[in-house]
Every structure is written in structure tokens, then in C-alpha cells.
Symmetry: C2
Amino acid sequence: MSVNLEVVQEVSDFNGYYTGLVELLNRHISESSISLSALRVLVKVRQEEEITAGKLVETLGIDGGYLSRMLKAFEGNHLVSKRKSTADGRTWFLQLTAKGKKLLESLEEQSNAQIKELLSPLADDQQKGLAAAMKTIRHILSEESQLSTSDITFRRQLLPGDAGYLIYLHGSLFAKEAGFNLAFETSVCKAFYEFLETYNASKDQVFLALHGTQIIGSIVVSAFSRYVVQIRWYLVHPDFRQMGLGKKLLNEALDFCREKGFQKVYLMTTSKQEVATNLFKKTGFRKTGEKQLSMYGQQLFEERYDMDL
Amino acid sequence: MSVNLEVVQEVSDFNGYYTGLVELLNRHISESSISLSALRVLVKVRQEEEITAGKLVETLGIDGGYLSRMLKAFEGNHLVSKRKSTADGRTWFLQLTAKGKKLLESLEEQSNAQIKELLSPLADDQQKGLAAAMKTIRHILSEESQLSTSDITFRRQLLPGDAGYLIYLHGSLFAKEAGFNLAFETSVCKAFYEFLETYNASKDQVFLALHGTQIIGSIVVSAFSRYVVQIRWYLVHPDFRQMGLGKKLLNEALDFCREKGFQKVYLMTTSKQEVATNLFKKTGFRKTGEKQLSMYGQQLFEERYDMDL
DNA sequence: ATACATAGTTGCTTTTATCAAATGTATTTT
DNA sequence: AAAATACATTTGATAAAAGCAACTATGTAT
């Protein structure tokens, strides 16, 4: 994969900037008679069950001899205790003592106090923006993008800005993934306008998946008649796919439809949306119509799917 | 200002995460016979003009004696040179020699190589997302938000997603700042739909201010007739205000109108937009009408401003 | 002129970290 | 089963990094 030079520059700049900040945030450590390496060891020991010295050397990239002395000191201070492995007489399992845990907690409290000081001059939404940006960085860099369910929340309410953001997502994603032009965004815009004008929270229901405060997935149930509903604006942001989010949104929407006593559900899509249509078919939808069109700058089939609830 | 505990948690987590990453990115330094502190000193000396040892002690939180020895070593290696202050015989101004600059550059190159390796498994838009998030963090935390012109770019083209994002910005910002309800976003949505439907790049012109790839300011010139244009969707994101961005966008738009030979320009706004209306007046607009309305969940005056070009 | 403050240096010490050899425990080979 | 080898950890010796306190030299205030 090619690397964008501007990105390298930004990462480098950020690195320089944040290194200074880390220094600031970790300064309290130097005043607490514990070295940064020692702290890393303690944190790792707390984090991992049944960790051995060798494992620490491996994961923390620390010298074995140095670690051995550190651990001896920790034992002397009753911060860490050792338990001999029954399977292998050479190794010892390490764990924090109550005192060790308490020490870590107090250090974290100090660190948090410093963070609070750093944050205090910031307005509330700046703080949230900061947290979201940090979450994004961790998310992108943590190889497996394994934030999964824990960092994703759901919302069933339509708040100001949501409609626009959904139009934005549709416009930009479909342009990128299906090659649709501005005409597509125009039609989404029109449809949203009409939806909003007659929006009725008791009949129409949105289901939004959020990462922080940002929408990353959506599905909307919109009443067509007393017994028929349409499913619209079904979408998951590419960074958050393959996590079962799409299936979850779809199921929630269908559950809602059943709950409300609707009997038929349909949706419109295009032949370009293969992944979605496969999921529709698997869920019980059947293709009930298609029409070849030249629109959105593409040759495509507009398809209709129906299902009895 | 109150501090959100979730934000503190995220900053703390991020800090822990990034400390590990910094470790990784700076590992090459340990192989280059220069300590991290030494590197920080060199970077600071390059960054600052006329820096003194005392200043370094203060800003880097480093011990004076240690620094003194380091500087002596740097002088011995011809990486840094001293120049006696004429005003104060006790102090010396430090600067990098050509050799010092070269060393830093080569270290940065190594660091960049490591960054490239880190980035290489990421898809292009993930890389961009990463850079944007980092930029955001620096922007929020750098007290003066002094990125100003350097990190903000402009675009005059309307790309897919832009319309939706502008609707989103209008919907969310006006809800927050003026208390407008969903009806406002609905009307923006309608207006955008109509605009897009008849969009003609030779008559209608958008001016977008961007931070990374994200829109942070906008103004749109939309032809009303052969001689009359309307200015619409004028907005600057709160994080980027007070930087002259609004004035710049407005002036660019008006210049464009004059260039294209339009003779009259008007715009609609509400009594809630005080900052904007003040700027309009200062630019030469005159209020030509107002109407008290109950809309968007508010009691407000809809105002019209006109100007001859 | 004297006392005090400031900028930077030097001597001494502690802390942090590394390398290599040693110890004791498993595992494999013969 | 004994010897050889591998592995997990410890110990000894040493070096580099960092800190403290006393000191020199220059500047400022009374």
C-alpha cells in the first residue's frame, strides 16, 4: 500500500508535538520515585494474568537483567508477588499485591488530575472532539480495528444535523464506491426533504449507529401506508464494516416494524449494492422488480425488494 | 470549565497507548548514539531563535547541570555553536551548526521511514483519517489555535458529499447556537435540493474552507437572475472563528460576483445571526426588509440584506 | 560598596539501563 | 541414564543518563 507523504509529515509533526505533551503528562511520575519503565512493568503485570518475567521482556522490550532487579525491588516493597509455576520450575507468575494495585491507582489519579488541568480550558465540545479524535487514532492504528461493539453506541432519535450527515454519507460513499455523481446526492437530498417534512416520530423511526458522536451506520423505517413500510438509507461506514453492524441495524429495524404491526416491508436499491442485497435475500426479502436506468452517471438496475413480516 | 470524565478516560487511555507507540517510533534513536533528551534539546534549539540554556531548562524541564554537559558535548561534536549575548555577559545564545541540522534531518528521515512502515498497512482513507485526527488534536490542544492559514485550504468545487455536509453543519450549528429545531434543517434540505437540481457550475459558485478534508466554512453564490445573485449558506465552524475566515470567504464571494458582472447581491438571514449581520453591514450591505416570524421553534426576525456591487 | 539574584558550570552521586557470564531448571540427544 | 543443549532467570561489572548541591561569574538593587 502506498503511503501519502503529507500523512507522514503530519504523523511526524504530531509525534513531535505529542512527545512534549507526554512529557508533561508523565512528569508526576518523576516525582513519585518510580521510573517510567517500572510503571510500564506494573501496568503490564496488572493487565495480564499469569505473566512471567520472560513475557515482560518480550512485550516491553526491556533488558532481562534490569527487569530482574526491578522485580526484586518490587518484591521488597511488597508491590508484586511471585508464585512458582507448577509446570515449569524455572518460571514465576507475577501479580500485583493490594499495595501495588493501590499505588497504580493513585498514580493514575495523579495523571488524571493533570489531564483534567489540561482539559479545563477547553469548551465542552472541544473536549468531545479531542476524545473522538483520539479514539479515531487508536481505532485506525490498532491493527485489528477491534473496538467492535464496545465503542459503538446506538440512537433512535433524529437530532438536528443527522439528516445532513446522512446525506453527506450517502453522497460521499456512493460516489466513491459506486461512482455515483452529484445527481445521486441531489435525489437523496430531495427524499430527505420529503421525509423530514412529513416526519412523524411515532411512525417513522431512525436507527443510527454512532462512533463517539459521529454517525457510522443508519437505517430508516418510513411508513408508506397503514400496513406497509419502506426501509431506506441503509448504510454502514466502510471503516466499520464486517462487524455485524449492518445485520444488527437491519434486524432492529425489522423488529420495530413487526412490533408496530406493519405487515409488509419493501426497499429500493441498485444492482451496485451487492453486499446489501445479499443480506436482504438472506433475511427473507425477494426481488420483486428491476428497471434498467441510466442515472447518477452510471448504467445500473434499480431494484425493488419485498418481504412479508 | 467542567471536565467530562469520559474524556479524561479517553485521554488517559490514549496517553497509555501512544506512549507505547512513541517508544516504537523512537526506537531508532537508541541505535544512533543520541539520547532522547539530547534530541529534544537539538530540536528545540533548531526551533527557537536565540535560545539560551536557561530557557531550555525551563521549557524542557531538564536539569541545568546535565544540560550544560550535553551542550559542551554538542560543541565538541560541532553540532551546536554558542554566541555570547552582548546585553548580558552571563548568557549564551545557542544555534545549530550545519552539521547539527544535517544530523537532525537524517534522524527525522529514519523516523519517517518508521512512520511509513507503520502506515503502510493502512488504506488510503484510513491514512487521511489518521492525519486529520492528529491535526484536530494538535489544533484543539495548541492553546492559541494558531494553525490559522497554514492548515486551512480552500476549494471552489462542489464534490459529492459536500451538500450533505453543509446541511449537517447548518442543522447542527444553528440548533446549538440559535436553538433552531428540525424544521430549520428541513428547510435547508429543501433549499439545497432545489439548488442542486438547477446547479450550474458557471453561474453558481461554492467557496469552501477546509481543514484537512473536512468543511469548516462555506459560502455559496447562487444566480437569481442575469444581474442579481444571492449569497447563501454562509457559515464558519465555531472552532475556526476569529481567524478572519468569514471575512475572507465573503470577500472571495463578492469578488467572484463582480468578476462575473453581477450588479446586485442579496442575502437572507435572521436576527439571531448577529456576528454575521455586523460583518454584512461593515461590508456594505443594507437591511432592506425584515419580517417577524415564529419558525424553527423560535421567535425571530427574518431579514433581507442588499448591496449594489 | 555591599548584598542579592541570575546564568551557567563543575564535582559528586544516584538512577537507569546494558552486556556478559553464571545458575538452576527443563528438554533433547546419544 | 548421562550428557548435551536450551531456556528462564539472576548476578556481576559497567556505562550512560539524570539529578543535586556547591561554585564561579556576571548582572541588579539598595
